[in-house]
């Protein structure tokens, strides 16, 4: 390129003193002229540019936010909580999709068979239980090591994640329940068992691994469902008044145990 901006004009432009037409020609020329760009680079405050560069490196090194994290931050959740929740294995898209599929299948089955609603009711409380089982722990959580060093208490992290899992799966189960034929009280009968099982699993998790706690409680729940049906010859016996009260009672006891053992979870650095 043969034509170049005069040094004097470049200096005035860098100071912000070039008038409109002169600035026009400088700006039209710079994108295509390495020589003038090099000349003007010497006139810009290097410290400001270095600071901006460090910001760029920081952003390139930071992990990119997932959809859950972004949505949470939009909703006003603070950044560190959003990241901890976003890293919850049971809040991954694949997990949520699997839950939705299972529920859709259960709802479909319930609408096709007379006893179908029973299977829906047995299945719905198991989903949050399974979610809590993989919510936090060395085997399933990619941020487990980070979490140990985080300024947040392990128990707090466990609770906030369990709550998030409970809320999402319950919301999905509620939607599925609404899709059931003929809205009936029984469509909500899984709520108390769901709460009871989840809280009981958290309480048990102070003594054993979350995975083992959830697996044994899940097995117990299925056994109770089978035995109840067999003995009473009435599929919904487990979800009657007595069953609901039992579940609420279990939930209350579990909450009590959980509150008393919060410190033991704390000392063990999570549910190992």
């Amino acid at each position: 390129m043969s034509w170049h901006v005069q040094s004097e004009l470049l200096e005035r432009y860098a100071r912000g003193d070039a008038d409109g037409a002169q600035a026009f020609s400088v700006e039209a020329h710079l994108p295509s002229c390495p020589q003038c760009r090099g000349q003007i680079a010497a006139l810009v405050d290097g410290a400001v540019l270095q600071g901006a560069w460090e910001g760029i490196e920081e952003r390139l090194d930071a992990p990119r936010r997932g959809p859950v994290e972004t949505a949470l931050m939009r909703a006003g959740v603070s950044e560190h909580v959003a990241r901890l929740l976003g890293a919850t294995p049971a809040l991954r898209l694949s997990w949520l999709l699997a839950c939705a599929l299972v529920l859709a299948f259960a709802a479909w089955a319930a609408s096709r068979h007379d006893g179908g609603v029973y299977w829906f009711l047995v299945l719905a409380p198991l989903l949050p239980l399974a979610g809590v089982a993989v919510a936090y722990g060395p085997d399933v959580d990619p941020t487990y090591e980070v979490g140990l060093a985080a300024p947040m208490r392990s128990f707090g992290l466990l609770l906030i994640r369990a709550l998030a899992v409970l809320v999402t799966t319950t919301a999905m189960a509620a939607i599925a329940a609404l899709a059931l034929d003929g809205l009936h009280w029984s469509a909500a009968a899984w709520l108390a068992p769901s709460l009871g099982l989840t809280l009981a699993s958290l309480a048990l998790a102070t003594r054993m691994s979350a995975l083992a706690a959830c697996a044994s409680l899940g097995a117990l729940w299925m056994l109770a469902a089978g035995v109840g049906w067999h003995l009473a010859r009435e599929p919904l016996v487990l979800f009657g008044a007595a069953g609901q009260v039992t579940c609420a009672l279990v939930a209350a006891i579990a909450a009590f145990v959980l509150a008393r053992n919060a410190d033991s979870i704390e000392r063990r650095g999570g549910m190992a």
């Binding site: 432009y13 860098a14 912000g16 008038d19 409109g20 037409a21 002169q22 600035a23 026009f24 020609s25 700006e27 039209a28 710079l30 994108p31 295509s32 390495p34 760009r37 090099g38 003007i40 680079a41 006139l43 810009v44 400001v48 540019l49 600071g51 901006a52 560069w53 910001g55 760029i56 952003r59 390139l60």
Partner: protein
Amino acid sequence: MRALSADHDDVEVLAAVADGDRPALRVLYDRHAPWLALRLARRCADPGLVEETIQDTFVAIWRGAGRYKGQGDVGAWIWGIAIRRLIDALRRQPRRQILVAEVDDRPSAEEEILLGVEYGDLGGALQRLSPQLRAVVQATVLDGLTSREAGRLLGIPAGTVKTRMMRARAQLREELA
């Protein structure tokens, strides 16, 4: 990864960036960030927003270097990213700090200029455009923005951009005739 030096032109450096070469991004930054900073500062009075825009631009280049198709100067391509990032950043900010703000729109100032026209040089003619008209010429002709983008940058409706551009064109044509 090859070592980059002053011998490599922007297209080669950009190709290295597309391959995930972080030092190449730094080379590109050292070459282009200074003039970008100056040019952006002429369009946005807030230094913090200018810095944020530069960061957004180079993060976008890092992730989208492969989108440069070899047409036109790399510098012009970078500017196209930067000016749109600035518009995005301005949109995120409720309180706008624009250098050429929407001032009073009395036609008298322009009429005065039109009355004093005696010359035929483009530089002078541009100079005699009212600040509002010149800002529109700058955004659409120099920065290559659409009427809508220019409107967002200047904080005025797209229709106003179009009418001002028509007025600026008429004025320039008359002065240079």
